[in-house]
Subunit: 522 residues, 2 copies
């Protein structure tokens, strides 16, 4: 008896579609459409360019690119040559960037005209690193050669992939400590795509809009998932509410992945006009969403599915099933097939509704952190990824994500999850954005501070407004959860590229101006 | 670093859906609808009944049931208790049946009121075999206990499945020789479902009609695929063209799997009225389809996807992509992801368009034939399943299935594929059914004989009709392919449960009446 090969090798999805559905649209970017046949040809050319720079199997290719066709081609080409992609955040500081590239042991760094300057320090510190640009030298720098200036026709291309091969190493934004490179395998992305398809369905004429960065797991997984499904990935250069709305209204986009602030801006720009019925799913990630926004979407018939994911779980690992959007409003649904989620406190599963650390097991869990076996062993125990995030499971197993554990506020021995307080603030009609942090307090350990941006806030805010907000919170929350201090801000809150509020930035801002808080003084 | 478990265990799909989408319809059968929550509960009860009869992991449960809820529940329950299903054809002769059950080493045989008599001989020959019925004893036989008369609450139920576990052993109809039990694993069915989803898409409100027997790989795979997708399986008691049409017109069925004769009857009964747009795919298997039928469907806007599959490949392994139906009319498309197809003659891949044996490799290929390691080794070589079927691949890799190899006619050293001749006959407006066989010929080795059923054929056929048909064929085919003799029949041609023409029956019928043909006499 001939045994089945295990694991099953995965045929290259783009070459498969190029053979099966050559004329279907595969990619829309930079104002152009690639069919699967065209994408396949361009991915091969790009892979041969990587080969021209000496890149081969298991090498690491760092990508410092803004969203566009160049990034999409590089991502697919890196897989085709059997190398590992290291996508880098274009907003990194030069020092952070140099550190991550050194840590990743990348052989090649690919930049564009806008990021070439940022790579200057890396180039100085790592003279052996090859830095090439996808843009014209004139537009970038004369000293930087173009990626397409060398080509190897002898490069070994890969048209079947080992599910255990590392496809990408993505540095996690990590609010504290050094970033760590999460190793995501071919199998991780495959299972992520299949699990999502079994939850949301997949239609052969789907068009999935990526208006979040491709260097982020959210954007990257859209690109790979679309190729696995044989559908169209629509890649925007960045997020623009009007452009995103236009893609939904006029460009036949059926699925869009967003975080809360993006969705809010789109709704505002759309002025409560309904979206076309072709829009079949708004996948809302990046953190808990306040009830009023979800209810606003429900009223407009916008099919929102809240989702919960991490870099370490190859994007979404829990997603609310479309039909459950109203029944389980505010939860992130249940684990996508066939992954499992537990909520644990003191090594025991918590009772229904009780918060604890979110644990995840299944084929979307990363292979580990690159070069950090000890951290990996602490993070993945018996196959369970310890996310560090806090949430609850209800009696039906629906996950409600409360917070990043590092943001947990402990005041007078009571736990306060900032998201809960933020949701209360956001439920007030005047509040556009809210962020809650804990700051050291001599009496209570920590106390709760809120940052709030109001709609059409005047320069000088009426003090009665903060009183009104505090009363509003008090009607919804326990006293110890009600913010001790509410600060009205006029600028948008600081957020990561994926749209998460950077609470550590707010915390830093506060301590620089105030010093430690004293409860007696307030 | 904690390695990923390989192979990835597959969460039980029904219990997963019962937890995630409890109120979605899972099964329509016997005039009733089961939600996923209800199906899950009934599958557990049925599994506990199997436990009550002593069935446990790795045991084999033979099923001799007509289509209905009872069969659907038994199929799912057998997986839940970790046993292997042996689905048996209810049209078998008593001796064949006894042989297959003995060969399968089944511990339990489940019958219904209509099949209990058929199992009589098996019961006599295998006194240790437990035979139970899903119907009332009164309706069947007093001596046969009911399946639900025993229940074990202690039965170990399985809610995660090893992809390598054997889910079913299906005896192949095999036109010649003893039937062999193809062992199909959980992973085979899983990959079959995923490959199909990546080709046809999967919509969360899909309803897939199974009007072919569930004891057949075609029907069984519909039931399992629907559960994997979390959609609705609509199970008909048998095929009835009017009922099938009604399911498409009024019952929201979106996908239907048929063989040619079923499709023809449905089209005739529908009198060329269009079908609703909710019908998004007619999956046409069971053998090559004649061009005129496909063109008729194209004219009516019926989205036909021709497919090629075998028991040994867990149903479909090549399917025409919907958009290619017209461009590649008459082919069965390309291999479904991530399987591979080759066409080989004398150990070499044939040039494009040249016929050879169809070989298949990939995760839908069975684990082997139960208890027949030597046959398995001859059939699966280096992972490639030798199907024994004959086909061609065109320059784009599209498969055209010509015939079962055992039906190949060799006349004067030339190969004739019956399907090609049948297609020529079927392209004549008067021909309803056609079957072509080779019979021994003293001069040419074999000669080509056709059986033809005409529309509204009078009892006495005008001899000029057969002449006209022969001329018609001659305009389309080489002389050696044109039937030497065309026999007009008035009764439908003999077919297997899956709708394949039983050429061996025709061959037998002919030799019994004629004796060997002599070319000089014709």
């Amino acid at each position: 008896m001939t045994p089945l090969p295990e694991p099953v090798p995965l045929t290259d999805w783009i070459s498969y579609r190029a053979a099966n559905t050559p004329s279907r649209p595969a990619l829309v970017a930079d104002g152009r459409t690639w069919t699967y046949a065209e994408l396949d040809a361009d991915v091969t050319s790009t892979a041969q360019m990587l080969g021209g720079w000496g890149i081969k199997e298991n090498d690491r290719v760092a990508m410092l690119l803004n969203n566009g066709a160049g990034a999409a081609l590089l991502i697919h080409a890196t897989l085709r040559i059997g190398a590992t992609l290291v996508p880098l955040n274009v907003r990194l500081g030069a020092a952070e960037l140099a550190w991550q590239i050194a840590d990743s042991h990348a052989q090649l760094l690919v930049v564009d005209g806008r990021t070439v300057k940022l790579a200057e320090r890396t180039r100085a510190e790592q003279p052996d690193l090859i830095v090439v640009s996808i843009d014209d030298p004139a537009a970038s720098e004369a000293r930087c050669e173009r990626l397409d200036s060398r080509t190897s026709r002898d490069a070994t291309l890969h048209f079947a992939h080992d599910p255990n091969a590392v496809l990408a190493i993505i540095y996690t934004s990590g609010t504290t400590g050094q970033p760590k490179g999460a190793m995501l395998t071919v199998g991780n992305f495959w299972w992520s795509a299949i699990g999502s398809a079994l939850n949301l369905g997949t239609h052969i004429d789907d068009r999935w809009l990526a208006c979040m960065p491709l260097f982020h797991v959210g954007g990257l997984s859209i690109l790979l998932r679309s190729a696995i499904y044989g559908i169209t990935a629509v890649v925007h250069g960045g997020f623009d509410a009007v452009a995103a709305n236009r893609a939904l209204d006029e460009d036949g986009v059926t699925i869009i992945s967003v975080v809360l602030i993006m969705l809010q801006r789109m709704l505002d720009a759309h002025e409560d006009r309904p979206y076309p019925s072709s829009l079949r799913c708004v996948l809302l990630g990046g953190g808990p969403a306040p009830q009023p926004v979800l209810e606003r979407c429900a009223r407009l018939g916008i099919p929102v599915s809240q989702t919960y994911g991490l870099t370490e779980t190859t994007s979404q690992v829990a997603t609310l099933t479309p039909g459950d959007a109203l029944r389980k409003l505010g939860t992130a649904g249940r684990a996508i097939y066939p992954n499992e989620i537990r909520v644990v406190m003191d090594d025991k599963d918590t009772p229904a509704g009780e918060p604890g650390e979110i644990l995840v097991r299944g084929p979307v869990v990363m292979a580990g952190y690159a070069g950090r076996p000890e951290v990996t062993e602490r993070t993945i125990v018996d196959g369970w990824l310890h996310t560090g995030d806090v949430g609850t499971l209800d009696a039906d197993g629906y996950l409600r994500v409360l917070d990043r554990r590092s943001d947990l506020i402990v005041t007078g021995g009571e736990n306060v999850y900032p998201a809960e307080v933020e949701a209360a603030l956001l439920s007030h009609p005047s509040v556009v954005e809210a962020a809650v942090i804990g700051i050291p307090d001599t009496t209570w350990g920590q106390c709760v501070i809120a940052f709030v941006r109001l709609s059409d806030a005047p320069d000088g805010v009426d003090p009665s407004t903060t009183d009104e907000l505090r009363v509003h919170c008090r009607t919804l929350l326990a006293g110890y959860k009600t913010p001790r201090d509410i600060r009205i801000v006029t600028a948008p809150l600081p957020r990561t590229a994926s749209g998460k509020v950077q609470r550590h930035v707010l915390r830093k801002r506060l301590t620089q101006t105030d010093g430690p808080a004293s409860s007696t003084a307030r």
